[in-house]
Structures are given as structure tokens and as C-alpha cells.
């Protein structure tokens, strides 16, 4: 699946997008954040304030307990500040 990062999540991870293949026990958005945080220092830093980070699956806002199976595109970002 494709991951996208925006704003300071993107800055901390150091890239805007990547392809990943998490293990089968990574079932939810929250699981995915935990798994990503273990991938290295930059990810640990990006996902340290995990409660603040929002997620979207296939361009729709989702909650941390949402299942990721079947997702093509998952995005992580800080609270929105548009308008």
C-alpha cells in the first residue's frame, strides 16, 4: 500500500510518500502507526505525538481503530489548518 505524509509528519519522516508492506498483524491505523514508529529514528520522531496525528484511508478521514485491509492509500498528517 501507498503511504502519504503531510506537513510536519512529512518533514519528520523525510519523505512525502512511500510504498510499504506491513506484516499481517498490523490490522488498524493505530497498529500501522506503532509499526511505523519502530522503523527508525525519523519515524519514531514523526509518530511520537501519535494522538495528534490524523489519518485518511483512500482520501477519507478515518479513526485510529479503522481496519487498513484493502486500503490502497493511507495518509498521515497533523490537524488541518486550512481556510
Amino acid at each position: 500500500m501507498k503511504l502519504l505524509y503531510f506537513a510536519w509528519v512529512r518533514e519528520r519522516v523525510g519523505k512525502a510518500e512511500e510504498e510499504i508492506a506491513p506484516p499481517a498483524d498490523v490490522a488498524t491505523v493505530a497498529d500501522l502507526m506503532t509499526w511505523l514508529a519502530g522503523r527508525g529514528e525519523e519515524y519514531a520522531h514523526a509518530f511520537e505525538k501519535r494522538k495528534v496525528i490524523r489519518a485518511a484511508i483512500d482520501r477519507v478521514h478515518v479513526k485510529p481503530d479503522t481496519a487498513i485491509s484493502g486500503a490502497r492509500e493511507i495518509a498521515f498528517f497533523p490537524p488541518m489548518t486550512g481556510g
Partner: protein
């Protein structure tokens, strides 16, 4: 209903967009436009410029979902949402919402609703250029509570 949703880096012409909605029509009684403008200060610090980052694809979808929601809540005859991205300086336009209806309450409420949702749900992020460097704008609780007004009861704040 005429619906226009655009994300663009270039400036917009609020008047031309409002005119497009109402031109040649005699069933529209009220047009409300909201223009959001880049300010030179924010929460006590100066802002010399800002860059708006967005999530292409999702931003359009999310705005379209909220325009559909607004149409279900109020009898709209037209709605336009234009949101810019890229670098902007104080005084530059950032966002435009235009709503048209037979009656003023619907036009006011729908524009207010759309702005609250753009602030809290549309995937845009502001990076400010401040005297001490750059910094991402933090989401405001007042924006969340403004958006929460519309969840209690559809159209409640319009009455």
C-alpha cells in the same frame, strides 16, 4: 444547483465568482461571499508569508462532500468554494466561499458552515514565515468548537 470547487495556486476574483452564481437568475434572493485573507500577524507573532500545503485529490473530495452536506441542510441555489495553495503574503486571498439561496438565512448559514468545515476537515496545512523562522500553524480549539456547532442538530445554528 451550480457547484464550483477549485484548488489553485493563482489568485481568484471573488466578484466574478459571485456574479457567475447569480447572473441572469431571478430566483436568487441572497448571495453571501466569504473571503479569507492572509494576515501579517497571528496569535502575537508577525507573519511575513505563509505556504499552504494540501493533499491533492482528497482536498477536492472532502470539500465536495461538505458542499453536498450543505445542500442537504439548506435550500441552496449555488455554491462556490475556491481554496488556494502555495506561498502567500499578507493581504493575499486564501479562500473563497460563495453561497446563493432564495433567502438570506440559508445563504449565511451555509457559508458559515462551509468555512467551519474547511478550517477543521479540509486537508490543508499552513507553514508560516515568522521573525524567528518557519513554523506550522497549530489547529485551534475555537475552530473545532465552531465546527462542532453543526453536529448537534442539522441547521440548528441557522434558526
Amino acid at each position: 444547483m451550480i457547484t464550483t470547487i477549485r484548488l489553485q495556486s493563482e489568485d481568484f476574483d471573488a466578484a466574478a465568482e459571485a456574479a457567475k452564481l447569480s447572473h441572469g437568475r431571478t430566483d436568487i434572493g441572497a448571495v453571501v461571499t466569504f473571503t479569507g485573507i492572509c494576515r501579517d500577524h497571528e496569535g502575537g507573532h508577525g507573519v511575513s508569508a505563509m505556504t499552504l500545503e494540501h493533499y491533492p485529490g482528497m482536498a477536492e473530495d472532502e470539500i465536495a462532500r461538505h458542499v453536498e452536506d450543505a445542500k442537504r441542510r439548506w435550500p441552496l441555489l449555488g455554491a462556490t468554494v475556491i481554496h488556494r495553495y502555495g506561498r502567500m503574503q499578507p493581504g493575499d486571498n486564501i479562500v473563497l466561499v460563495v453561497t446563493a439561496s432564495a433567502h438570506r438565512q440559508a445563504a449565511f448559514a451555509a457559508a458559515d458552515f462551509l468555512m467551519d468545515y474547511l478550517k477543521t476537515r479540509a486537508p490543508f496545512w499552513k507553514l508560516e514565515e515568522r521573525p524567528d523562522g518557519t513554523g506550522w500553524v497549530e489547529a485551534k480549539e475555537t475552530d473545532d468548537s465552531a465546527a462542532a456547532r453543526w453536529q448537534a442538530k442539522p441547521g440548528a445554528a441557522a434558526e
